[in-house]
Amino acid sequence: MCDQTFLAITFGPCDNCSQNKPLMNIYLKNEPINYCSLCVELMACQGLAKGETIHTLKAESETLKTKLEEERAKLHDVELHQVAEKIEALGQFVMKTRRTLKGHGNKVLCVDWCRDKRRIVSSSQDGKVIVWDAYTTNKEHAVTMPCTWVMACAYAPSGCAVACGGLDNKCSVYPLSLDKNENLAAKKKSVAMHTNYLSSCSFTNSDMQILTSSGDGTCALWDVESGQLLQSFHGHSADVLSLNLAPSETGNTFVSGGCDKKANVWDMRSGQNVQSFETHESDINSVKYYPSGDAFATGSDDATCRLYDLRADREVAIYSKESIIFGASSVDFSLSGRLLFAGYNDYTINVWDVLKGTRVAILFGHENRVSTVRVSPDGTAFCSGSWDNTLRIWA
């Protein structure tokens, strides 16, 4: 973990409007300043100054972009596979389906593990959200959402609630109950409100806040109790399909991937887009942090998965093969970060060696697209959900 201890001012009086707000650290004529998000917007939208035209602005943005590439290239002294040469190769893997969870009546779209390492929540196209004890394959709770295509579901860190959303444009939190006969929909709490479908949601370190991403191109942080919008994140120019919170000890950033082929890293406090990577050739379906929080992987419709290093600020690996031509819908790392599990639209799951860039295993079994792949919290197994209405636990 990076040992940078700096006192970045993230809240306080804005240099422009003097109001106490979360601050973005930006540069005005090479001088660092702290503006609130409103002032940054105003700055961006201010009319053309004397001597400025669209062409001068375009030229300026081009020069800056080239400068950024130069800065990145200066520190690009070694490739990942060179570093990987010193690491010993992996042996053969035997991964089998250990459990098959049947019960959904339609495509399974999303899955999330509980912190107790054996329960999962899954959501499907027909609006059903089911909580399973995956170890015994028992269904423990079931909720019927008032909408179809429930693309996002998440288990609360306490294990006492689940959040889900989809075509209803909302994210709702359902507190779970010990009484099996209780109607969970009665205690439902509507938290997030977007203007288009909800593609992904995640609790932060507690049950009290939810981070959501939507087809309307934005991500947002919400307070669960009051439903208040705490922070919104603008920067994607198309649907945002996936997000993931950083596991690092400071826990203040998250990464999102969208249909504009960009993967953006955001500061949760100020709403600022701090890093952006645009090397994919098609929609990014899934983003996931490396366990140390210093890198993240993406899975895309261009049939590749890529690894981006946050400290070196560039793409460091591409996981692809000639024979893999279908998009990757979901990715996740194993506990040590050595393996990358990726579910594809050709009904298979490919397991990649993160360091060496080679594929170590291909898993068959699903009869339709693999829509979601998640490793359990203690790394003992991973769960895959598919459009064939089933979930499989592999170990």
């Binding site: 570093v83 120019s237 366990p291 024979s323």
Partner: protein, 500 residues
């Protein structure tokens, strides 16, 4: 149920079906007369169908030409069949590739899915009507249902549909029998792909359409460029690190955690998912008395690992208690609670933290530098979620760089390392595994675990002594009962007395 739309299978919105072009290229190669898959003529009733290929030949060709295993080749072949580039002659409703003598044919490019010709409901209605004309009762149950539905929907153009169907039927009759049979097969295969029978799915189903068309050019107005400039400027000024350093760190992380990754090194005593024995989870519960050696080793990897594991944090607290420096961790935990807590409770929490940790003379005063203290106290005038960020980072770094290393060298940790257990690996026989499978144990509901944890926390808080506010309350109660004053009269006196 398909929703009528003008979309050509989502190809307008980003080539989400870009795989189709690659599949096409492969199919063309497979049909090459010299290097492609070898076909034969097959007799079907009285006609001879040309260019019939077997499943095993397809798999063999793919294995050889794409340089992959036969399993993967079979999966790839299934994709070709699912999309309709190759169709089965026997069992035509199941679109999978069987690696045996099952018979298949290449679909004619006219019916390839990549063509701009949309699989419209009108065309489907004409197809079903045509088959109905040819022979009554030949439609399957699901087809009959679809036909009735379409008849109802498209009632207004039903004459047109019937006319088209009749035209196509007569045109078909004019062809040679062999050609007609082949064409019928091809057309039927096309519709199986685009209108799947019940209990099957269509590979052309790509899910939901995107809300924003990413192929549409973004309007490049001046604010578009300004935003790029603002972002790129701060991106250029960000500090970055040499690749060798950061990639080295990634590799180091993997090496450090290698033995703890159940996919790389089997976990002890055994992986519950593999043997149906949940001892591994029993031995690693958050509040277990004696942790395992692996777990204790993991605490030494980084301060974050220690804090993240509730058992590790508890052990660290014991160490801090011995050193009488528990306030740092308590402050960090309180700050975390503030950061991730509900918006409504924030100002109350912030005040409580100030009184307990930051105020001069506070009972658990933390030692931070003047600048940070100044910033924090000033921020607390208008408390918000991140007001303690600076102080929290300072304390965290202090603990990480100093206290953590002392902990690792301390007798508390060394004791724990000695006490920690190392379970022997299970060695179940086949019969035992079967039995385990039958006796999978359910676990306590996480809600109950959570409730217990909260109770424990409340007890611990009460036991650690009353805080300032509570001391105030106790004094008030004492005085109201002995001095016969009301609470309101007492408040100013008490506050002056305790604020010294």
């Amino acid at each position: 149920m398909t929703i009528r739309s003008d979309r050509d299978h989502g190809q307008r919105y980003r080539p989400r079906m870009s795989c189709l072009k690659k599949l096409e290229a492969t199919v063309v190669q497979m049909q090459d007369p010299s290097t492609g898959v070898k076909g034969t003529d097959q007799k079907l009733n009285v006609t001879i169908i040309p260019h019939v290929i077997t499943g095993q030949d397809i798999v063999a060709w793919i294995t050889k030409n794409m340089n992959i295993d036969s399993d993967e080749a079979q999966a790839f072949g299934t994709m070709l069949v699912a999309f309709g580039y190759i169709y089965p002659l026997q069992d035509h409703k199941k679109l999978v590739l069987r690696p045996d003598g099952s018979l298949y044919r290449f679909q004619t490019p006219y019916f390839w899915p990549v063509q701009k010709w949309k699989a419209e409901d009108t065309d489907y209605a004409i197809y079903l009507a045509k088959r109905n004309i040819r022979k009554k009762g030949v439609l399957d149950a699901y087809e009959q249902e679809e036909y009735n539905k379409l008849h109802k929907w498209m009632n207004h153009k039903w004459d047109f549909i019937v006319m088209q169907a009749k035209e196509q039927y007569h045109a078909g009759k004019a062809r040679q029998k062999a050609d007609r049979v082949v064409f019928d097969c091809q057309e039927r295969a096309y519709w199986i792909v685009h209108r799947p029978p019940p209990q099957t799915h269509s590979a052309m189903d790509y899910g939901l359409d995107r809300h924003i068309d990413p192929n549409a050019e973004e309007k490049k107005t001046y604010d578009y460029y300004r935003r790029i400039i603002i972002y790129t400027q701060q991106a250029v000024m960000r500090s970055r690190v040499k690749s060798s350093v950061s990639l080295g760190a990634l590799a180091k992380y993997i090496t450090t955690f290698k033995n703890h990754d159940p996919f790389l090194v089997p976990c002890l005593p055994s992986n519950p998912w593999q043997t149906d024995d949940d001892s591994y989870w029993e031995l690693n519960t958050p509040d277990v008395e004696i942790p395992t050696k692996m777990r204790v080793e993991r605490w030494s990897f980084s301060f974050y690992e220690l804090l993240n594991d509730p058992r590790g944090r508890a052990d660290f607290k014991i160490f801090l208690k011995k050193e009488f420096s528990g306030e740092n961790l308590a402050f960090w935990e309180a700050a975390e609670e503030l950061k991730w807590g509900t918006a409504a409770s924030m100002s109350e929490k912030a005040e409580h933290i100030f009184k307990t940790f930051l105020a001069p003379g506070a009972p658990r005063w933390i030692n931070i530098d003047g600048r940070t203290m100044g910033l924090t106290v000033k921020g607390l005038e208008h408390p918000h979620r991140y007001v303690l960020d600076a102080a929290q980072t300072h304390i965290f770094m202090l603990m990480k760089k100093d206290t953590f290393y002392r902990y690792l060298k301390s007798p508390v940790y060394k004791e724990m390392q000695k006490k920690a257990i190392s379970p022997a690996p299970h060695n179940f026989s086949e019969a035992q595994l079967q039995q385990n499978m039958r006796n999978r144990r359910p676990s306590i509901d996480p809600i109950i675990t959570w409730q217990k944890e909260q109770e424990e926390k409340a007890k611990a808080e009460a036991a650690s002594g009353p805080k300032v506010r509570d001391r105030c309350m106790l004094k008030m109660l004492y005085l109201t009962s002995y001095v016969h004053m009301t609470a309101e009269q007492l408040v100013p006196i008490i506050c002056i007395a305790t604020s010294k």
